[in-house]
Structures are given as C-alpha cells and as structure tokens.
Symmetry: C2
C-alpha cells in the first residue's frame, strides 16, 4: 500500500474516525495538521491540491486524495472485519454511517464546535437561532442509538464495525456540546466497550 | 433474493435513487407509498416496524428493513458495475455519496422541499432565516460538481456508478428549489448522459 497521510485537525471527530480505524487495523498513518479556525483548509493551494471542498479530513494515498471521513475509513477497512462482507450487513453498516453524517454530525458535532471552539457569544444570529433545533435533533439521534444498543452490543452484527467507529467519534465527546449522556445508558455502556477494543487510541482533545 | 419493497414518497429524490438503481440493474421492486406531509412515516406502527427514525425511503428485503437511501442503493448494487471493486474507486464512490448527503441534499433538496411542497409562506421563521445559507451552500455544491465534471464524463472512473445516481436525484430537479442550472454546463451535459443510460427511468414528479 502507498504511504498514507491524514490531513487533519486533531480536535475534529471526523478526523479522529480515520485515526481510530487505522489504529484498530494496525496501519501506520502520517499526520499533517491544519488549523481550520485560521482558514488553513481554504487556501488556494489546499483547494487545488487536497480538497476542492475546503474541508478536512482528507486521506492522502500516495498521490491520490480522498475527502469525506467515512469514505476514508472505508478505504482503510475494506476486506477487514470492520466491513462485513455479507450483503445486508455491509449495507447496514453504511446505513449507520449515513445516519451519522445526516442526523448526528450536523447536530451533535456542530453544537460541540459552536459551544466549545467558537464560543456562544461569537455565534452569528442565524447560528444561535438554530441551537434549539440542533439540540432536539441531536438528542433524537442519541435516543435512537440508545434504543438500538439496548438490545445489542454493537450497531451491526456481533463485533465492532465502521458503524461503531463513525458514531463513536462525536458521541463520546457530546458533553462538550452540552448533551447529557446520563439519559442514554446503553450508549454509555457501548462507549466503554469501544474504549476496550484492542488497539484503541483516544482522541487528542 | 427475497422480495424487495420500497417504502417511499414518489416526490422524494432520496426514494427515486433506489428506484433508479433497481431499474438500471433490472431488479423488480414493489412500491408502498406514504404521504410524508400527512405524517404517515411518524405513526407508531411505522416507527416500530419500518424505521425508528421516522423517515423514508426504507428498502424492505424480505423481513429486514434498510433505511438511508444511499445504503439501500448499495445493497442493490453490490457486485455490479455501479460499485467498482477496486479499492480506491470504491471508496471514491462513497466519497461522493457522503458529499451528497452532507453538502448537497440538506441544501438543494431542502430548498426544493420548502419552496415547492411546503410553500415559502408556510415556512417557520427559523426555516426562512436559513434560506440564504442553504442557497449559498447548494450553489457551492453544484459548482464543485460542475468543476469536477468539466474534465470527466462520470464522477468516478469511466462509467456511471452509484455516485452519479446519488447526485443526479436532486440535481436534475434543483430548479424546483430555484437553483439555476444554466451556470453549470458540465452538470447539464452529465444530466443528459444520465437520461441516456440503458434502463433509465424518470422521477415521477
């Protein structure tokens, strides 16, 4: 395999997903850090070479660039136990990964970003107006996860998959966005199972 | 393969993705229609049996239920030419599918839904306040697609894949959300290529 370089901000859960996947698979990753708050992912050079969408993470594979955190995890994990080969199970892993990007991340991760890194006082009026809806939608996502995990140890099948990694990234730091994990005991137990995985690495911040 | 049933609203581009994938692959689908505007996907029976997330589409495969449009397409297309087997290409298809759900659908599809089906006069204040940001983000997504397609016929590789199907669904009806396709000539040419695919079916509305 060509050299793997993760273009990232260590505070981003989306970046952490890729680092965690690589760690669980024992794959070495070189790290290149960017300060998103200083616009380092919107420079002309970044847009031209790394990602025209101006976002991290991007997984660089030799001279190819792969944006989108969950796609990068997929690249790393294809053929491993983190991506089941059985037809329905494989699609079901993607079901939770799309749920994560559509229902979970825009709410749970965005409130963490706004409250912990931007600061409530610095939000625009339009952003502040969205807090109640994002709070409700984030709690709905956590509740759905909790109900699913009440009857099973992992999101799909009998072992951890990319579905768990994708959802773990922002869930385990959701209290930084003022979500309360107390109300989701099955999620709390699953977080402990995730931390106990062989090869697990913690998020840097 | 067990019987396939698509739980859908025919006006939804997310539902259409699945119908188009099945049509291109020559797979028969039974259709079960719901009126989302009448809350038919939020009934206790729907939440308990079909999708706890209260959303369509859901692809029913025998007695199993698979929410998330792009995951359902993946179920249908695994092993076909719509999902490349090569490692980077497969992840790159997912890269565009995650881009679609994160950067495109919440903007392009939401404005279509609000303007065509809800009606601007019926939007909440919080929704109306989001229109400018969604307009800008939707146009940014269309511009990024146009720049990508300026140099190639399909999003990944040399033929249509699920990346094209996922992005086609709401792009080809984006003018219903007051996006102007005129500014995106490479997208317009790609829409024509999509319509010419063998087995292509049109969206119902």
């Amino acid at each position: 395999m060509p050299e793997l370089i993760l273009h990232q901000d260590p505070r981003s859960g989306n970046c952490y997903k890729i680092a965690l996947t690589a760690a669980l698979l024992g794959m070495p990753l070189r790290i290149r850090n960017y300060e998103i708050m200083r616009g380092e992912t919107r420079t002309p050079a970044f847009l031209a070479q790394v990602n025209a969408n101006g976002r991290i993470p991007v997984l660089q594979i030799g001279d190819k660039f792969l944006p989108e955190s969950n796609a990068a995890c997929w690249y790393l994990a294809q053929g491993s136990a983190l991506v089941p080969g059985e037809r329905f199970a494989q699609a079901d892993v993607l079901r939770w990964m799309f749920f994560e990007q559509y229902n979970h991340e825009p709410n749970v991760a965005t409130l963490r970003f706004w409250l912990r890194f931007v600061g409530q006082a610095n939000l625009s009026e339009a952003q502040a107006a969205q807090i109640p809806a994002k709070r409700a939608a984030g709690d709905a996502a956590l509740k759905l996860m909790d109900e699913h995990l009440a009857e099973r140890a992992w999101f799909v099948g009998e072992a951890a998959t990319l579905a768990d990694i994708a959802l773990f990234a922002y869930t385990h730091v959701c209290e930084q966005g003022a979500f309360a994990l107390d109300g989701y005991p099955a999620v709390v137990a699953w977080i402990a199972r995730m931390r106990a995985l062989v090869g697990f690495v913690a998020m840097e911040s």
